[in-house]
């Protein structure tokens, strides 16, 4: 299986790097399209002359050979497909598109991005296969022309060997709630601080919220904590190295996730692998990773009362925390295993090739 990937970029995100690594480890050949040249020029140059635009014939030959040799083209982002659709058309190969989140459930709805939404509607039906990071994203894609029969939900894959169970239980007091993620609006930290306030003032618990991450919402979190009188209970650690993250997970009692827009958060899966019970808002695909009452509690999005109640219930029941934690670890190791993801991608590529051949 030879996969040509578009949209990997010079500094690929962790999930893309992992995907490539796991595919290669499973025996697939992965080539990466070097996308620095404007696609219109690439298209013209491939179709006509080879030296006019300053590229050597050898480079263009390599590009063409790559497009010819690959069994399947995999586009990591919808805008890559829109950009290269004319470049790939003459080679008549199946295209697989990844649908992850923002590009399908936010951007098309922003005023001023109507042309992006139109491009989605034009290009999505052309694909022979789709990789969706969650069932929720699959449903979003269907609103823009994704053909559900060609779609596969393939969950993120993580090397979880690093995220082990804690050797010792955390200190009983104070209740430590941990959150991990970019400090950005879509993680909903303001609601987390509101839930903490309720936990302290209404449920009478000695609790603190430790937030690992960095970003533009730092001031908002600090302001909200001060406004609600819980400044000394909200700790912003900034970005931490992996062993720092693991240490704090081991020192915490509960992992909280309040995102407003999400695929499936890696941070939650890592927390589950460390045996932490989870309280998560029902956003995006989060309830595909955490079942309410099995690995933790799933609350309505933005519902700080429900979040505080779920946290309080866990705080008062260490046995339930252990039960949820062990169930979460088992699910994380099973559902997000690298070998499983690679096999599912190979299966998707095979399906796309067959589907494309049938159409031809």
């Amino acid at each position: 299986m030879h996969v040509l990937m578009f949209g990997v970029g010079e500094n690929p995100q962790t999930f893309v790097r992992n995907q490539i690594r796991f595919l290669q480890e499973s025996g697939a050949k992965v080539s990466i399209w070097e996308g620095n040249s404007p696609p219109r020029l690439v298209e013209k140059a491939i179709a006509t002359v080879e030296t006019r635009y300053g590229w050597t014939p050898d480079l263009l030959g390599k590009r063409r050979a790559l497009l010819r040799a690959a069994d399947v083209y995999h586009f990591q982002w919808p805008h890559n497909l829109s950009r290269y659709v004319r470049v790939i058309r003459p080679f008549n190969k199946p295209a697989v598109l990844s649908l992850r989140g923002r590009a399908i459930n936010i951007v098309p709805y922003i005023p001023g991005y109507e042309s992006f939404a139109r491009a989605l509607r034009q290009t999505l039906p052309m694909c022979s296969g789709y990789h969706c990071v969650s069932k929720a994203i699959l449903r979003e894609g269907a609103l823009f022309g994704l053909v559900p029969e060609r779609a596969r939900v393939i969950y993120t894959a993580l090397d979880l060997s690093f995220f082990t169970l804690a050797e010792n239980p955390p200190a009983p007091e104070p209740l430590q709630i941990v959150m991990i993620g970019a400090l950005s609006w879509y993680k909903g930290y303001e609601y987390a601080v509101c839930a903490l306030e309720r936990l302290v003032k209404e449920h009478g618990l000695n609790a603190r919220l430790v937030i690992i991450g960095e970003g533009e919402d730092r001031d908002r979190i600090r302001y909200t904590a001060a406004d609600l009188g819980v400044t000394d209970r909200v700790i912003l650690t900034g970005k931490l190295p992996p062993d720092g993250v693991r240490r704090l997970l081991h020192e915490s009692h509960i992992l909280l996730h309040t995102a407003l827009s999400e695929g499936i958060a890696n941070a939650v899966v890592e927390g589950m692998a460390c045996g932490l019970p989870v309280v998560t808002a029902r956003s995006g695909g989060m309830d595909e990773a955490v079942s309410d009452g099995v690995e933790g509690f799933v609350t309505p999005s933005r519902d700080v009362r429900a979040m505080a109640e779920a946290l309080a219930r866990l705080a008062g029941d260490p046995a339930l925390c252990r039960q949820f934690g062990l169930a979460g670890r088992e699910r994380a190791l099973k559902q997000f295993a690298p070998d499983r993801q690679a096999a599912e991608f190979i299966d998707l590529y095979r399906f796309a090739i067959q589907n494309h051949a049938r159409k031809a």
Binding site: N105, I106, I110, W185, E190, C194, L260, R302
Partner: protein
């Protein structure tokens, strides 16, 4: 149909997600509403996500590049000026709404409270309490409805 308007910076301080949640609560109670948000800023995506989450795509209009005349026209047409600010520095448009006697519904953020002191047509509710915000909007809507009915009856 209750016409609600917010003129504010599109950033977190404006509390627009709370405003949208309040309008959602209002529509859930059976009060039809149209909500216009006028502003600019980096928080647009958050507003768009909240609008979708609360199934308000058809009822909420976001105007990004409205000039002063358009803003004045929109404020004039609305029945209530909603200001769900949670932090200072985001209460654009409030003075203009007050100047024309428009009813105002707002959170009790200190800067807004100071600006509304002595203004009889203001209803101020606790910060981040979207149920109270919806109640206040509903009360303004009922008053407006009574005013219209009274006007029709008198003709």
């Amino acid at each position: 149909m209750l016409r609600v308007i917010t003129v504010a910076a599109l950033d977190w301080r404006s509390g627009l997600e709370y405003g949208l949640e309040a309008v959602h609560r209002l529509t859930q109670r059976g009060t039809p509403a149209h909500y216009t948000i006028i502003g600019a800023g980096s928080f647009l995506e958050a507003v768009v996500v909240a609008r979708r989450e609360f199934a308000l795509d058809g009822q909420v209009e976001i105007l990004l590049n409205a000039d002063e005349a358009r803003v004045a026209e929109q404020v004039q047409q609305a029945e209530v000026f909603l200001l769900p600010c949670v932090a200072p520095g985001a209460s654009h448009g409030l003075a203009a709404a007050v100047a024309i006697g428009k009813p105002v519904v707002a959170f009790d953020q200190a800067e807004v409270v100071a600006a509304l002191r002595g203004y009889a047509a203001a209803r101020v509710v606790p910060r981040r309490d979207t149920a109270a915000l919806a109640d206040a909007l509903s009360a303004v809507g009922e008053l407006a409805q009574r005013h219209i009915s009274g006007g029709e009856g008198g003709d």
